[in-house]
Symmetry: C2
């Protein structure tokens, strides 16, 4: 398997990204290869002559002289910077030269490049980013968290199908319970588009659809898959990050007021918690619905994130998730318009 990694994406690029890529070799199979994209001289320098020699046969560097910044307008950047690491990465996949692509760079640009170059899986109207929340009750896959901010009913349905496939075949949940994000459990709650999405979800008996869920249910073990539009999903994702940070800050403050010793004793517990429930653990978020394996990593990705993203992309690819999505959508009778 050939895994292309954008060496220039993310707040800690290129150092942490490249280090993560190199560390991945420990767990990769013999015939796996990693392709690093970025300005060639810079990437070579960061990889170092020792590693270049050691991994010469399994590590390739593709020169991508342009870099798309984290705050650039995605569509324009993709149009203008055809030799950026993100653009070329998507192209490698489209041309059959990479089996998976991974980037911690500008999310919008990644989505745009993948959609433009790799195209959608047959039957998929719009791709969606799926994020896995590690909760006390088990992993919850939420889709979409930012690829598509104004959804049609069919998009919600397809996100449910795709995220279920992911939950089942990558996370190992036999029959993922699907909840539709709304503002009340009752059938009549939610906007018109949510109500229509609900009808589509209900009509497919092959989905384990459990009904509306509310914000609080994500962390209560009520569902394994949470479906939403990209706006709501993105708010959920970022709120979760901010709230967890804020809460630990508050706890630390309060513990230090109580006793410094108690605060010190709490620290290893907190570190363990961070490790267990940290999003870095899941590596990255798959862009579900494109023809290929695309993993979008958090902007603050470090070595561990990239290493985990590589392993995740292997599982995604190995489990043939895209083929399963294609087959499912070919046989379902649920149709919608996406005008």
């Amino acid at each position: 398997m050939r895994i292309a990694i954008d060496a220039m994406g993310g707040d800690y690029a290129p150092d942490e990204i490249i280090a993560g890529a190199i560390e991945s070799f420990e767990k990769l199979d013999k015939d796996d290869k990693i392709i690093l994209l970025g300005p060639e001289a810079l990437v070579k320098d960061k990889v170092g002559s020792k590693n270049l020699k050691k991994y010469g046969s399994v590590l390739e560097i593709v020169d991508a002289p342009e870099v798309i910044g984290m705050d650039e307008s995605p569509i324009e950047a993709i149009r203008q910077k055809k030799h950026s690491s993100i653009s070329l990465m998507a192209r490698l996949s489209a041309d059959g030269l990479a089996d998976a692509v991974i980037s911690a760079g500008n999310t919008g640009a990644c989505v745009a490049a993948c959609q433009l170059r790799m195209r959608n899986i047959e039957g998929v109207n719009r791709p969606g980013i799926a994020v896995v929340f590690p909760t006390f009750e088990g992993p919850v896959t939420m889709c979409d968290v930012g690829a598509n901010i104004s959804c049609k009913p069919i998009n919600y349905y397809q996100y449910a199908v795709m995220a279920s496939m992911y939950s089942k075949h990558v996370l190992g949940i036999a029959s993922p319970r699907v909840g539709l994000m709304s503002i009340g459990e009752e059938e009549n709650k939610g906007s018109d588009v949510i109500k229509k999405a609900r009808e589509l979800l209900k009509s497919d008996k092959n989905l384990n659809y459990i009904g509306n869920i509310e914000g609080r249910d994500i962390f209560k073990g009520k569902c394994d898959v949470a479906v939403s539009d990209g706006f709501v999903g993105n708010v959920v994702l970022k709120l979760t990050e901010g709230l967890v940070d804020g809460l630990f800050k508050i706890i630390k403050h309060e513990l230090m007021q109580e006793s410094l010793l108690l605060a010190m004793k709490f620290k290893p517990v907190m570190m363990r918690l961070f490790q267990k429930y940290d999003y870095h653990e899941y590596g990255g978020a798959p862009l579900l619905g494109v023809n290929g394996t695309a993993v979008i990593c958090h902007g603050s990705s470090k070595i561990r994130t990239i290493r985990n993203a590589v392993m995740m992309s292997k599982k995604f690819h190995g489990q043939k998730i895209n083929e399963k999505i294609r087959e499912y959508l070919a046989t379902t009778t649920v149709r919608g318009t996406d005008e």
Copy 2:
């Protein structure tokens, strides 16, 4: 001041609600009165003969034989149950017989009853529920969290104005920084309606509008007021509840694995945290934009919540928030259509 309280609303009604109302008298002024609404015999029984005697001159009971359940469809319930505590409560305010109304009952029914009976403040297109998040960096007022799930641009603008008034005059924040909930800081991020709302917000130089905010910013001290539609706001509110619960569960579990003694020592810290940052502390959420003081409490309200809601309603009323909103909207040049 006459404060009408729905004795039948909430998971712990009528016991905790009535007890909270009675306890409020400790902090009320001499000329304040409380009106309890509910089936007369039941309410009298719960208040008890001792209290009936003690507070005879300042406690009134209004017979409301019907009760609206937490899961009833709001509009239908309000139409059919004209003698419910919620309907009569709103009517008391509309008829000038109560200066504030408080309910922990069916939120949708409360909003519907208040809108129907009390009408909107002149210049307000749609009321919004404002919730205060107690954060490490100070209280953040979010509006709307569930009254209006599909907003027009003008609604966002008015939520910003009304929540700013609340933040300034009730919470004491001199110049509240207003953020518009979106999925990225950049100007071009968000849906079309968000972009149009942004233009309205920007055009009013009297607002301290700071731009788009993301989910993570609410708990990071970036803004004092967060503006969103009722769908997104409701997801934020409920997610916060669920995540805080879930996180404390995880911490407890992890601490107990580490050492039982450590878990025990952590308990008082956690209890203090809960008290400080608990939503019960703020009593309830004002329904901003209706002609009157309406406070909607959480379904799980207990004695403390109701007591705090009473004090909050006094402050809201005393600060003449509604007059300030009316004056502000009469002079602003920002207009929108709400067709």
